[in-house]
Amino acid sequence: MESAEQKSYWNAAGQAGAIFGFIIFLISMIGSYSMIHAEPTGSFFSFYYIAAAIGCLVGIFGGVLGVKFYINEHGPELKIGKGAVIGLFTGLFMALVSVVLSLIWPMIDGSYLENFQNAMIANIEANDMIPDAQKEEAIDGMYAQMQNYFSPGNILQMLGMSAIMYGLLNVISGLLAAKFMGTPPEEEL
């Protein structure tokens, strides 16, 4: 019989990470294209940021799915610590998948980056609540980021930030999923 330590969670975390990585990429794309095709409102709550927030909320459930897959594979016996680890790796896989897809997409739609940049800049310019100096700073920052979209530094930054965000969120959701969906194992002899 496999001991709790021997039961691999890589399949569960990998599958859940791939599924949720694709879902959060899809949500982010819906937000981006909504913004590209909408009139600039100048609001802080643009489609893009709303989609990012929704993506973040949806992403929390990656850890739950990872634990669910693990339970389907190995049975319900797991401690909350293992759930947290499954959640962490699910979050890391999600970050990897969504960033890779984000890098591939501009090659499929060649005008995506430019259109997105123009939409973001137009939205900042339409915002009356930001002082001009800060507007300039924000636009310069946005422009620099888009120009360096495929640079190793930007890719590492995207990966790092996504990994931290989804990793931490899914540690908590994996832990909670193990608590409510799993059963604590008998101490092994």
């Binding site: 709790a4 797991l78 401690k79 909350i80 610590g81 293992k82 947290a84 680890v85 962490l88 002082p131 100096a133 800060q134 700073e137 920052g141 620099a144 980021q145 360096n148 640079s151 530094g153 930007n154 931290i164 990793g167 931490l168 540690v171 101490e187 092994e188 002899l189």
Partner: protein, 330 residues
């Protein structure tokens, strides 16, 4: 990999109930053989691998520290400024640098120091102070003395490594951010009559709080998961990343590894705290006396003289061997 070839000087696990040995299932009385309610810590009982709380907490502590420090700075500047505050308003930042550093120190004490101390309770059944290696014995004081000499001797090596690190190209946007950071530190360190303040904010507070986090909590947990050498290397890398100064990542990581090694060899956190303080505090004093030289050191645009680097490397190696011998004899 656990280090089995080199005897671990005074493994604290042998001296207190913080043991790696698995609990015998037959020993589950209300109070275990050690006299504590549980034989194993909360994290062990709930199946957390030791590395997980270590790494997660480094990230969370970093985020909390940054959010708290920056929020304090922004709110304070908005309160005292009559005009809208922009992100890189150097004159405003410089004018109120003392308060910004105070906010930074308070955030460090709260999140890196106190919160880590409290969190340690989840990973130990014994005393937190023992887990974090707040202990001393007859070899602690000599190692502290040797650490002070070591940190001074290795400064040219650190400078040289900083120069090497600077040769790695970084994005312009990042360099602009780091420039602001350096300007702030420079303004603070070269202000009049603030040497004592700078020693507290740049020297004392980080040397205690960061040591509790890295050489106390993180190193101990990583040692339990991956063994001593992996703990030293990973802990050093995390220490380097934590400072978000990519142009100084290599020297910072090396200092982190060195302090980890000293703490492990002496089985006491005090050499780490003193070494950290001498490094940071020494930079404050040098900046106050030779501000131009200090800026060369911080921006590492120039290499120190080759003979100095060679002497520093030689001296560092000799001192490390000496400390190794001293602690092994014990």
């Amino acid at each position: 990999m656990p280090d089995s070839s080199t005897p671990n000087p005074g493994n604290p696990d042998e001296n207190h109930p913080e043991s790696d040995s698995p609990e015998s299932p037959s020993q589950t009385p209300q109070h275990g053989a050690t006299g504590f309610l549980h034989e194993r810590s909360w994290t062990e009982r709930n199946g957390f691998p030791h590395w997980l709380p270590a790494i997660v907490w480094v990230v969370v502590a970093f985020l909390l520290f940054q959010i708290a420090g920056n929020t304090f700075a922004v709110v304070y500047l908005m309160a005292v400024s009559e005009e809208p505050v922009t992100a890189l308003d150097m004159s405003l930042l410089t004018e109120h640098l003392d308060m910004i550093f105070l906010g930074n120190s308070v955030a460090q004490i709260l999140f890196l120091g106190v919160a880590t101390w409290l969190l340690t309770g989840l990973s130990t059944t014994g005393k937190r102070s023992q887990f974090l290696r707040f202990r001393s014995d007859e070899r602690t004081l000599p190692v502290i003395g040797q650490t002070v000499i070591l940190v001074v001797v290795m400064q040219p090596t650190i400078w040289m490594l900083g120069w090497l690190n600077m040769q790695i190209p970084m994005p312009e946007s990042y360099m602009a951010m780091e420039e602001v950071q350096i300007e702030m530190i420079k303004s603070f360190l070269t202000s009049d009559h603030v040497i004592l303040m700078a020693l507290i904010h740049v020297g004392l507070v980080p040397s205690i709080c960061e040591e509790i986090l890295f050489r106390g909590y993180v190193q101990r947990l990583l040692e339990k998961s991956w063994g001593v050498w992996a703990a030293i290397i990973v802990g050093g890398l995390l220490f380097g990343l934590f400072h978000i100064r990519l142009t100084q990542f290599i020297p910072l990581a090396l200092i982190g590894m060195l302090l980890s090694w000293l703490v492990w060899r002496s089985n006491s956190i005090y050499p780490g705290i003193v070494g950290h303080f001498v490094n940071n505090g020494g930079n404050v004093l040098v900046a106050a006396i030779f501000s131009d030289m200090m800026m060369d050191h911080m921006t590492t645009t120039e290499l120190p003289p080759v003979w100095l680097v060679l002497a520093s490397i030689g001296g560092t190696v000799i001192l490390l061997r000496f400390i190794h011998q001293t602690t092994r004899q014990e």
